[in-house]
Symmetry: C2
Subunit: 151 residues, 2 copies
Amino acid sequence: MNSATQTPQTTGTMGLLSQLNRVIYRRATEDVLGIKLKQLIALEILVRNDSCLQQELGATLMVDPNNCVLLLNDLDEHGFVERQRDPRDRRRHIVVITAAGVKALEKAQQKLEELEGEVLSNLDAAEREQLRDLLVRAMDGQDPGAALECG
Amino acid sequence: MNSATQTPQTTGTMGLLSQLNRVIYRRATEDVLGIKLKQLIALEILVRNDSCLQQELGATLMVDPNNCVLLLNDLDEHGFVERQRDPRDRRRHIVVITAAGVKALEKAQQKLEELEGEVLSNLDAAEREQLRDLLVRAMDGQDPGAALECG
DNA sequence: CAGATGTCAGACCAACTGATATGC
DNA sequence: CGCATATCAGTTCGTCTGACATCT
């Protein structure tokens, strides 16, 4: 009715999360970050682990193996990752991030932090830290590899 | 490397939000809720405002006018909403939720709360309240109608 | 051989783009 | 006439499904 309503329009935490994610997704485009948000998250995992099995990456990202292939193809074409055969089980691939990948990641992370500042402009530093902490804890409880049960 | 890593794999708040949303999105399917998550959010807005202009709904949901039409077509076909011409400006539509819509919403909300309990199982009641509060405040600062600048 | 892993091609769904109809 | 609103058709993007090759 009143067109300038500032009341929270969505009640549930899940709905709010979904809405706020929508805001992020709309703003964190490839134009802004240089890479896609999902690629950024994938690269973050790779730098953190130095390298990891392709299936572990997929499980952590919660994408099914097929989509993991597509995602890596994209990153591979840009020279941001390399896939190596695991010598101990030659069916498997070990994914490693390249120097160019690290560089692209750092650039994207910087842009994303700028965005974060804008999106969370209503929260002060302590509250942002609190939010991040709650999200970390929530994610910790998540079943990894739920995306694998698809065959 | 260790396949049972429980360390937070994603560092930034935006990435965490995106990942947690992924968890929700994967579980809050139409099969579980009875309606789609986005439809649930739309109906929530409608019960809260009793009725609202179609463009206001779109702005609040952050979907562009085109997608708003599709969304409402879907809800309309199920008999969950009705579109009425605004007598004061007959170009406009006023969207109202039906009794069936309210019923479907309540059912879906109940299921979603169950899901919320599972997804946020690592957080106690106080922490969940805290999370919800932070999300509400973050959403309050969001530019409504950003989705309208697309023509 | 059965089972696991990764790859690809085609189907499917959700979102965006452009054109049209109606009313101001 | 120009502008706003809603609608639809066509395109594009991301994701899922099924078939296949390789390796254990």
